[in-house]
């Protein structure tokens, strides 16, 4: 079986996210995986993901960094805790905080590459630094702090 990304290992109930859920038919369905010590997601924006003409809108860039961050957190947490990913046993993270710096306009058209560096895995918290590039030029950088979803999620109101 060809594994496309960490998102393929989430439980069904955690697979509906607009950004990264494999079961959200209208969503972005990003896939995140290790490449060496970094995590990587690639995504080609659609023509309507416009900001000003010719450029990608900032909300998509934030969304990609956000969901890349939660996926990267799962990868890092699994590695740090010696969890062998199989079936749908991937621990699920949600974002606690997100920062994005828009360095230059991101051209709309080329595939975007989001790369992550794991800064910290501490208990149930993971910090990921990310960069987003188009045609090998960094257009945005970001940081996300993510938190492991509690076991009883869905019972909290």
């Amino acid at each position: 079986m060809s594994i496309k990304g960490i998102q393929d290992y989430y439980e069904e109930r955690f697979s509906h996210c607009y950004g990264c859920g494999r079961l959200n038919e209208k969503g972005l369905q990003i896939k995140t995986n290790w490449e060496g010590d970094e995590t990587v997601t690639r995504f080609t924006p659609r023509p309507y993901h416009t900001a000003l003409p010719g450029f990608v809108y900032g909300g998509l860039i934030a969304s990609l960094i956000d969901c890349h961050g939660t996926g990267s957190s799962t990868l890092a947490y699994a590695k740090a805790n010696n969890i062998t990913l199989e079936g749908s046993n991937a621990p699920r993270f949600v974002t606690g905080s997100l920062k994005v710096e828009y360095k230059k306009p991101t051209p709309l058209g080329p595939e975007l590459e989001i790369r992550g560096k794991i800064r910290e895995v501490k208990g149930k918290k993971v910090i990921v630094e990310a960069s987003l590039s188009a045609e090998d030029k960094i257009c945005a950088t970001g940081e996300i702090i993510s938190i492991l979803v509690p076991e009883n999620f869905g019972q909290i109101k």
Copy 2:
């Protein structure tokens, strides 16, 4: 004529943003306006804007705060510079940096209210603090720093 938001005053070329462009048929088409000293945007997420089941995905929250911030920046800049908005003369801002703190899961279903406070208008830069609420409970807060789009935008490569 009923004016729905500052986004109705952008030039045609600045009205295609996925988050706030009135001409982006697939986009969110948010509308931002003053309510007293604060700026307000209201938006009801669609069913597919899911994160974990029952909650709004973080990328949409970031997008709403982002585009609410650029709209608020235009409103604040126009006020500070005594610009009377008419036709399509609204100055256009883009995001330089975005921070979002996810305080609690945002329920999917109710209308969301994003409120902005103008922290600073300095030259071509505006800083806006934002909060996002569902059913009068704050679910996320954020800050955006936005920059006035240069006159020659589109000629820069």
